[in-house]
Amino acid sequence: MIAEAGHFALVIATILALMAGIVPPVGLKRRDMGLIALADSFAVAQFLMVAIAFAALMHGFIVSDFSLKVVAANSHTAKPMLYKVAGTWGNHEGSLLLWVLILTLFASLVSLFGRNLPLTFRARVLSVQALLSLGFLLFILVTSNPFERLSPAPLEGNGLNPLLQDPGLAFHPPMLYLGYVGLSVAFSFAVAALIEREVTPMWARWVRPWTLAAWIFLTGGIALGSWWAYYELGWGGWWFWDPVENASFMPWLAASALLHSAIVVEKRDALKSWTILLAIVAFSFSLLGTFLVRSGVITSVHAFAVDPTRGIFILGFLALVVGASLTLFAMRAPSLAPGGLFGLVSRESALVLNNILLATFAAVVLIGTLYPLFVEAAGGAQISVGAPFFNYAALVLMSPLIVALGLGPLLAWKRGRLSRAARILLPALIVAAVVFVGTVWATAGGYVMSAFGLALGLWLIVSAKLEILQRIRFFEGPMAGLKRLVRLPRAALGMALAHMGLGVLVLAITISETWTSETLTVLSPGETAMAGGYEFTLDKVEPVAGPNYAAVRGTLSVRRDGELVTVLTPEDRTFGDPVMETTEAAIRPLVTGDLYAVIGEAIGPVAADGRWSLRLYFKPAISGLWLGTLMMMAGGLLSLTDRRARVGAAAAREKAA
């Protein structure tokens, strides 16, 4: 019964979405305030209905109602409760329902927090948002109904892929979706602005927090996925330029660009049509990502099922949304009033450069991701574009970005002086140069690119610090300076923190990619192998039992110069229902890097003196990846709590009144 209630709620939500897409625009046409004001109620009602449906599905997973096809296919009574709950979105149907849940949640948040937006504008935003929900709701009802029943109901479910039974991964999809779908708000704002033919600094002030929030979630979602790949897949890698990873990386790049161009609209009333275009493109990338992942065009651990009708539906929806919004853009963008002028050397120019580089990088990733599809569709051979292509593109396009990133914040709006910025950043340049020369010299010229990476990372970190010190006039009087630090706008601190985070990320990538040491070996208990200056001794190998798996656990003691550092216990787990094995890497983060051990199969007969294949790593500076990402997220969060957003809201209220 509960499932039927959920299904019914979903149908009502669809009808509401349809009405929300039609009624307020009709009201706007007829200038009927009553109809326009319905937009808010529709938004909240849609969210409530989808929430009921989602709760009904989650209930099905929690009580293991195997008469539901989705539950039977993806759950199991023996599964720990966390994964039963997470199982709600660990499948195609449920993940789409989560998508719509977040979409309608954001729409109702716009309606709640956007009370100070002009009513007509808010109504337009909400009706665009409702049309997006309508598309997804129809998709769910027509091709992917999560409430489909099975008769007779099986006694036991198929279980969830054990690779996905992991706390990191349980929260990876919701986080990523919050980011993906958060960009829909920027999209709806952009479309509404095009319809109203007006883009104002106030518009940018509204769009920026939404984009920032989406960006923070995207950053977190991508990092969680990456972290999962690092410890769960047991290869020690964390980024593979897999099409599905690219699908989340492209919206991230576009969101990063949008974040920066919205500042120019807000502060200088320039770059308006470009910013609108970016908002459309960023959400289109989100939809494209959904298409790539959900259509089964690209198969990977993320693609739940291959069903051509689903792919065609999403492709059609994608074409409709992107086509319609770009057509609207082409019609309306020329009529947007052009904004302020700026000099060749100015903050605006630096942000334009940022946008050009980020957008180009996104385009290159798009080409690299879709090229194999096009070649195959054109009847050519099956090919794949490998990591070297993307790494090369990242190097060529992101290096100038990072160099400019140090300078940009020190340039004044309208017209800056490069000589002033250069004078302030001299220490950063010296640090970068010394590290570059030192590394090249120490490695006898063997690691020029690594030296370059280190120099770039340090340049960015030191520049961001210098920018803050300059801002608080620290060198004129440290005590007075520190007092000013407290009163600094949070947006300024957030920016510096996020930029420093990127610097830490660059350093961590460079160091871990260059100086990882890997040993592949076969050991009997009692034997020792070396990796990165650490001695790994296999003490014993024993069977252990988990809640829904059996495992072989190796115990390795790791020593450095004879002193015990830590004990690692990698496992090779075998799950029942369905029978599947996973590798559980043992990881111990140290200050300098991670000790990482994976146990493979037994070589020869499994006896007390059996031999086991082992892969041992020392991966320096890996924690810097997570630290850098956290700093970027924290920077975004700081900026999000800036006074400006609230002051802007008050100003908007006055304007509307």
Binding site: L344, V352, I356, A381, I383, V522, I603
Partner: protein, 161 residues
């Protein structure tokens, strides 16, 4: 304003130029990279003859792990097995720990190069992720000729799913 841009036109010009230069650079990069090692062809064993593959060319090779073909090298960490599409066979060697789902009779995608002796030296081996999913390109060309190791289901039935 002594320096900088005084008209909207020249501002637009500079922004456009910068954009075009970057885009040109990126296009060059794409063309350069697509012509080099970054691209790897995805083949099944029987496709190899028609593609004129030279030793050292990077390939992705997909197919089934032939039943009874798996054994380990003397060093204990080199794995040797045959990848088949039930038309042709390719002998593959891989040094490392095989993925958890690596099984004889199951789909696998390997990536690497041929050595001069015709042995495919793989540096990456991907097995299918779970029971519901097999990577495209691992389904045998001549499915009828394949038999499942346990005789539970024939590969033809698997392919028909």
């Amino acid at each position: 304003m002594a320096k900088g841009l005084t008209t909207r036109k020249s501002q637009r010009l500079v922004v456009l130029t910068a954009g075009l230069v970057t885009l040109g650079l990126a296009t060059g990069l794409v063309l350069y990279a697509l012509g080099s090692d970054s691209l790897s062809l995805f083949v099944q064993p029987s496709d190899i003859a028609e593609h004129d593959v030279k030793p050292g060319d990077r390939l992705k090779l997909g197919g089934l792990v032939a039943t009874g073909s798996f054994h380990r090298g003397d060093d204990g960490v080199t794995n040797i097995f045959t990848v088949t599409d039930c038309v042709a066979d390719v002998k593959v060697s891989f040094r490392g720990i095989l993925p958890d789902l690596f099984r004889e009779g199951q789909g696998v995608v390997t990536e690497g190069t041929f050595d001069t002796a015709g042995l495919f030296v793989a540096d990456t081996v991907l097995a299918k992720h779970d029971e519901n999913y097999a990577p495209p390109g691992t389904m045998p060309k001549n499915a009828a000729a394949c038999t499942h190791p346990e005789g539970v289901a024939t590969a033809a039935e698997m392919a028909g799913r």
